[in-house]
């Protein structure tokens, strides 16, 4: 994902020119190393793109743009289309981030503003620990706990109230788009919560005090001063989280059902770009098959870039509106 430190407050740049005459060899080396570490990333991303593009050239040449709107996936006949995978990736990540941002920001606000330190510290530690749990553990938990629960309790409960919506119609397999989205949400909540908490805590104390002095309640202070001030950081946290959701492979694979189909129902199985690559790459033997799977990798790359770019544009518009108000 390269750099995604969207919200870091920029410190007023101190002009380095002042120090220039006293540059020493060590300083030179240091700044040279810093430069290099940035350029290496740029080169890596560029290299990644070139390799993916070259690897998928055969598929691009054979299928063209039609590849993006084709829903067939038949390795035996060599007919491939990417639409179900793009759909699955975008939808599962979108649902996940909606859930995770609400829960994560709420948790962060609670930890930073309301919880007594005796509770806040261990809780914050636990949440950060959750971020370090390997995704296969989430996947196993999803398969053996969440999926049966979805089939027997959660799914039927939703369906009895909202079954008339196409979104919640059809048979409930346990595994499927909704289960995958929930697992993804669970996985990215720590990212949202931990980073948001850091930013909420760093909002200046005098701002809060000013608000409280005006007679505002704790809640009003948080809602009208603290959260808006921390907004760029929280936004950055969400962008990072979406990145993780888009690229998540093993946990998704274990609970999404792995059927390359586009279905209106969230209970139906789906498939994601990352999952199909992980599933089929090792045993793919024909040239066009391998090339197609690499092409899906390129698409995932592009989807990630598009989502990141969209998030940045969104953030800038939101922030500008806030400033103008």
């Amino acid at each position: 994902m390269g750099e995604t430190v969207v919200g870091s407050e920029r410190v007023a740049p101190q002009s380095l020119d002042v120090f220039r005459p006293r540059y020493r060899a060590g300083d030179r080396l240091f700044s040279w190393a810093l430069n290099l570490s940035t350029w290496i990333y740029l080169a890596l991303i560029l290299g990644l793109f070139v390799v993916l593009f070259a690897g998928s050239w055969l598929a691009i040449k054979s299928f063209g743009l039609h590849f993006l709107v084709d829903s067939s996936w038949d390795p035996v006949a060599g007919r491939f289309g990417a639409l179900p995978f793009i759909f699955g990736t975008v939808v599962s990540s979108a649902i996940a981030i909606v859930i995770a941002s609400v829960v994560g920001i709420a948790a962060a606000a609670y930890l930073a503003e309301f919880a007594p330190p005796l509770i806040a510290r261990p809780l914050a530690f636990l949440i950060e620990l959750l971020a370090a749990v390997p995704s296969v553990v989430y996947g196993l938990w999803g398969l053996f706990v969440l999926a049966p629960l979805m089939r027997t309790v959660i799914g039927p409960a939703i369906q009895s109230k909202l079954g008339w919506l196409p979104l919640f119609s059809g048979p409930i397999y346990g595994v499927g788009m909704l289960t995958a989205s929930l697992i993804l949400a669970l996985m990215i909540v720590p990212t949202v919560a931990a980073i948001s908490r850091d930013f909420i805590e760093s909002v200046a104390v005098d701002q809060r005090e000013a608000m409280l002095a005006l007679g505002a309640t704790r809640w009003e202070t948080v809602r009208r001063v603290v959260l808006p001030a921390a907004r760029p950081g929280i936004f950055g946290a969400c962008v990072l989280a979406v990145g993780r959701a888009l690229g998540e492979t093993i946990a998704t694979t274990m609970v999404i059902g792995n059927r390359p189909a586009i279905s209106a129902s969230l209970f139906a199985p789906g498939y994601t770009l990352a999952s199909v690559i992980a599933n089929e790459f090792t045993e793919a033997t024909t040239q066009i098959y391998i090339s197609t799977l690499i092409g899906l990798g390129l698409l995932l790359f592009v989807v990630s870039i598009v989502v990141n770019a969209a998030a940045r544009i969104l953030m800038h518009t939101v922030l500008r509106n806030v400033e103008e108000r």
Binding site: P75, V76, L143, P171, M254, R259, E280, T282, E283, A284
Partner: protein
């Protein structure tokens, strides 16, 4: 490029999650140390190390067999990388490994590419496996019977209820519930899927033309979900009442899974066991890379879903000394080493197939 790979696979992979955000700096330092040290840390082997890559199905058998072999022959160690058949074929073709292993023999196109790289290719059967059909039907324990056409109809999505007349007819003594069938298949490309679809194609022309045979196929049933690996499929089946799936025989036996008895070509209902798969394989001693299917074999005791995994070597490797070692290792694995298979719930190659493998390896020149 001469195949000398003393360092292959020695350095353990570090998982990215290994590093936490805060330890990034010390982690980077550690990484640097590993990178710098890599050239010097590699232990010097007194013995020759042969390398192979490919099928993950073969891996448990290979790792035990090659270990035993090194115990008896201190001059050779074999490093086998379980990276999947596709990767195995690729690495074999680029001559980065001494031998490749694949759940399906090289097809014409792959053979030609390999031949251009290193001359004539020899392929021998090395491991034998079967596929068990597993199920989770409420109220039904062991002893479900199924036939080829019924399994095809279920996987085509034509039979969607467990109390369907076609299933009931095969199981007059069972009280089948009025439950939806949920079809589970492998989501990852796999030799198990290949053997299973090979069986379905041999039973049904409709399956053959609509879906075909492959390690990944377009599963036609609307009521289907995919699970990753044997464990994914079995987990799915265990957790979902009404489901049916297929897993590799050794996995089914080791996990004591519920499996269906299948009707074979002789119209007998047969359980998937080491013996019944071996019996099926023994009916085709002349198995070879261009005629390798052993599904639906005749014989009263033959289990109908079985298949071989294959090893490929160049007939005349560039390094004569290595060539001799490769031949010895593979010959041992295909004959004496097969006794190890049973302890892993793998099926030992029938005696006549062992002899065939030995004969083919005899064509190696050095």
């Amino acid at each position: 490029m001469s195949p000398t790979h003393e360092s292959g696979g020695i350095i353990p992979h570090m998982h990215p999650d290994f590093f936490t955000r805060r330890k990034a700096l010390s982690a980077a330092a550690a990484l640097l140390a590993v990178a710098l040290g890599a050239g010097t840390v590699v232990p010097a082997f007194a013995s020759t190390q042969l390398t192979g890559a490919g099928s993950s199905f073969d891996y448990p058998l290979f790792s035990k067999a090659f270990y035993e072999y090194s115990q008896q022959h201190s001059d050779v160690t074999v490093n086998y990388q379980s990276i999947g058949s596709g990767g195995g074929i690729q690495q074999f073709t680029t001559k980065t490994v001494d031998f490749g292993a694949s759940d399906v023999p090289l097809n014409t196109e792959e053979y030609k590419r390999a031949e251009q790289a290193g001359g004539k290719v020899l392929q021998i059967p090395i491991a034998l496996g079967g596929v068990a059909v597993t199920y989770n039907v409420p109220g039904i324990g062991r002893g479900l019977r199924l036939s080829g056409p019924v399994v095809v109809a279920i996987y085509l999505g034509k039979i969607v209820k467990w109390n369907d007349g076609a299933i009931a007819k095969l199981n007059p003594s069972l009280k089948l519930p009025d439950a939806q069938i949920i079809v589970v298949h492998r989501s990852d490309g796999s030799g198990t899927s290949y053997i299973f679809t090979d069986y379905l194609s041999s039973v049904s022309p409709e399956w053959k033309s609509k879906v075909g045979v492959g390690k990944s196929v377009q599963w036609p049933a609307q009521n289907s979900v995919g699970g990753k690996g044997n464990e994914g499929v079995s987990g799915q089946v265990r957790e979902t009442p009404g489901s049916i799936g297929y897993v590799e025989l050794a996995y089914a036996l080791q996990n004591n899974m519920m499996y269906a008895q299948l009707e074979n070509a002789a119209r007998k209902f047969i359980s998937p066991t080491v013996e019944s798969v071996r019996a099926a394989a023994a009916t085709k001693p002349g198995v070879n890379p261009s005629d390798f299917s052993i599904v639906n074999r005749p014989g009263a005791g033959s289990y109908p879903i079985a298949g071989y995994s294959w090893v490929m070597v160049f007939a005349k490797p560039s390094d004569a000394a290595r060539a001799k070692l490769i031949k010895d290792v593979l010959e041992w694995t295909a004959t004496k080493g097969q006794s190890i298979a049973a302890s892993l719930d793998y099926v030992p190659l029938p005696a006549n197939v062992q002899q065939e493998a030995k004969r083919v390896l005899g064509q190696m020149q050095f």
